[in-house]
């Protein structure tokens, strides 16, 4: 059975399992917070994955995530809050408007040959600033009064507010991740990788660079906007300062760098780890420490794990599984902390730390132990390709 069908079945399985979680939570009467925690995680999974389509695959570093997210939030808030649209009708607009904005930006910047990587990055940063300034200036958007989204009705059949939010977030984040996967596992994806490595050479080999970059940027903006639109409900009261700040761009960067920007699973893993850990640090009343740890993580990861923990996990899958489940078993056995989420948090910390062992050291350890885990330098995506059609 070929790899793609296998992966897609995997998606289906995940969708089904996660789809029934609220029911399970009801049945076992687990805290409703688990549902909220899950969809918060899924929100970040989607944000990071969408960002990674442009920055990880095509190699164009973007601070624009905040802008696309913001467009989504305000699209829905304005249509629902000011023009009384039904939420489900407004939601697609969030994605479309953000996508169009992304394409417009692309049309300008990708036409300019001399535009270097970091100039692109700063342009995306500037876009966010301009949008914030516009939203402040125009009463039609915000005009500084903010928009209330509390009590926005959601379709009955989705159940109560929490369940509805959960299901919607689940669907859209799965779509985003699947898009990322399908892109990576296609000509488009490999064209983007080529662009990331050497755009001119890619061009010379016949990769339609402009069209591909536009596609990547458009997809990024579309999914980021869609999620933003959904999140306007979460914000409850939408203000420029809450929407257009560095939080979203910061976190997607952090998550993708942690998980790895060269594989669609990277941002997913990164998002799950970061949300879990920071949530737990915060619940332990360590918000300030969690900031410092996040900062330290950024530094360490940029230095130690260029390819991100996911590719290392795949490369050292035996160790990963061992450490993760080992740690999980330990904390659950000795019940260090009642909460399920905390147990996972501990396991994830342990696993991440295991992944931080530098490759060089690792190779030697493995040599001594006569080899466990996968093969080849973790940098390569070789097996993606080799298995692509087996």
């Amino acid at each position: 059975m070929n790899r793609r069908r296998r992966t897609l079945l995997g998606f289906a399985a995940v969708a089904v399992i996660l789809g029934f979680f609220p029911a399970v939570q009801e049945a076992l009467d687990l805290p409703t917070f688990y549902v909220i925690f899950l969809f918060t995680t899924l929100f970040w999974v989607a944000q990071a994955s969408s960002w990674n389509i442009l920055t990880g695959f095509a190699g164009y570093f973007s601070f624009g995530q905040g802008a696309w997210y913001g467009i989504g939030v305000y699209a829905v808030s304005v249509l629902v809050g000011k023009h009384g649209w039904p939420f489900m009708a407004a939601l697609p607009m969030a994605g479309l408007l953000a996508g169009v904005a992304g394409l417009l930006l692309g049309m300008v910047v990708f036409r300019l040959r001399r535009l270097s990587g970091e100039i692109f990055a700063l342009t995306t940063l500037a876009i966010a600033f301009v949008l914030a300034a516009l939203a402040r200036l125009l009463p039609a958007i915000d005009g500084g009064t903010g928009i209330f989204m509390t009590g926005t009705p959601l379709p009955e059949f989705l159940g109560d507010f929490t369940t509805a939010m959960y299901l919607l977030t689940l669907v859209f984040s799965l779509l985003t991740v699947m898009a990322a996967y399908l892109i990576q596992d296609s000509r488009l994806g490999w064209g983007l990788f080529a662009i990331r490595d050497d755009e001119q050479v890619a061009d010379g080999l016949g990769v339609p660079v402009f069209r591909y970059k536009m596609t990547a940027l458009g997809a990024n903006a579309f999914f980021a906007g869609l999620m933003g639109g959904l999140w306007s409900l979460r914000l409850g009261f939408v203000t420029v300062d809450d929407v257009f700040n560095i939080r979203v761009p910061l976190f997607v960067i952090l998550m993708s760098v942690l998980g790895g920007m060269r594989h669609w699973m990277g941002p997913v893993v990164g998002a799950v780890i970061i949300t879990t850990i920071s949530d737990r640090l915060n619940s332990a009343g360590l918000a300030d420490v969690s900031q410092i740890i996040i900062g330290a993580l950024l530094v360490i990861l940029a230095l130690a794990v260029r390819e991100g923990v996911y590719l290392r996990m795949r490369d050292r899958w035996v160790t990963t599984a061992a450490v993760f489940f080992g740690a999980l078993a330990l904390v659950t056995l000795f019940d260090i902390n009642g909460s399920l989420i905390s147990d996972f948090a501990y396991a994830m910390v342990a696993t991440t730390l295991a992944m931080l062992v530098p490759s060089g050291v690792w190779e030697r350890m493995r040599a001594n132990r006569g080899g466990t885990g996968g093969d080849g330098p973790p940098e390569t995506l070789a097996d993606d390709l080799t298995e692509a059609n087996t």
């Binding site: 596992d185 296609s186 000509r187 490999w190 064209g191 990788f193 080529a194 990331r196 490595d197 050497d198 001119q200 050479v201 890619a202 061009d203 010379g204 080999l205 016949g206 990769v207 339609p208 660079v209 402009f210 060269r262 080849g376 330098p377 940098e379 390569t380 995506l381 070789a382 390709l385 080799t386 692509a388 059609n389």
Partner: protein
């Protein structure tokens, strides 16, 4: 009949004239040697032909299509491939992936799946089979040059522009490469080779075009070209004639 027609092409960089009305042609199935002293505009010409630079004037026709103002990727799609003097592999990919990518694009679109066998074939052809799945940083210059070639071939070009494939190789490697180029030609691919190593050019080329200061000064059979005073002057300066 001619596969590539270059008519009065010029290219300036600021004040510097790199190409000054170049007119030449490459015939179907031949190996054309493009020679000339440093700074004579050989690389610029390659860049114009492969669509990286837009010429300031003149026109380029390939297989009876005007490709003068086409972007590089469309030129490639029409069947012109090139290599780089200093190898530029995709360095986050393995050699296999490098080749597979160019096979997916190039002259004909191919799926990820098809790309794999093809990659195998070209790895085979260039003898890179045993380093197929290692990191790029583990390849020698010689292997990198062959990877350049393999990647260009994988686009299934009808015209291949080789930019100093031999530069920096030792004599035995050069012989290997020359023999490889002949095998490439044997597959019915038209070649335009830019070279400094005269021995190799003489051995390979059916015709030679000599470029000097952005102009074509001589064109013809290798022997007669090499005997031409203008060429000797271009290479050795006037002293060359007296000797």
């Amino acid at each position: 009949m001619s596969l590539l027609e270059v008519t009065d092409v010029a290219k300036r960089f600021g004040g510097v004239v790199a190409l000054d009305g170049v007119t030449m042609r490459v015939d179907e199935g031949e190996i054309l040697g493009l020679v000339g002293p440093n700074g004579s505009g050989k690389s610029t010409l390659i860049n114009v032909l492969s669509g990286f630079y837009a010429g300031d004037q003149g026109r380029v026709d390939f297989a009876d299509t005007d490709v003068t103002s086409l972007p590089a990727n469309q030129v490639a799609a029409l069947g012109i491939a090139r290599t780089y003097q200093i190898p530029r592999p995709f360095d986050t990919m393995t050699p296999r992936e490098n080749i597979a990518v160019s096979y997916m694009f190039g002259q004909h679109r191919h799926s990820l799946a098809e790309a794999r066998e093809a990659a195998g074939e070209w790895l085979e052809f260039t003898g890179l089979g045993d380093v197929a799945d290692t990191g790029i940083n583990e390849l020698t210059l010689h292997q990198l040059k062959f990877l350049e070639l393999a990647r260009a071939l994988a686009t299934q070009p009808s015209l291949l522009l080789l930019d100093e494939v031999l530069a920096g190789l030792n004599p035995s490697e050069i012989n290997q490469s020359v023999e490889m180029i002949q095998r490439v030609h044997a597959r019915g691919i038209t070649l335009l080779i830019v070279e400094h190593v005269m021995r190799a050019v003489m051995a390979l080329s059916h015709r030679i075009v000599v470029l000097d200061q952005g102009k074509v000064i001589v064109e013809g059979e290798p022997e007669q070209v090499m005997a031409d005073p203008a060429v000797i002057r271009a290479y050795l300066g006037d002293r060359g004639l007296d000797a």
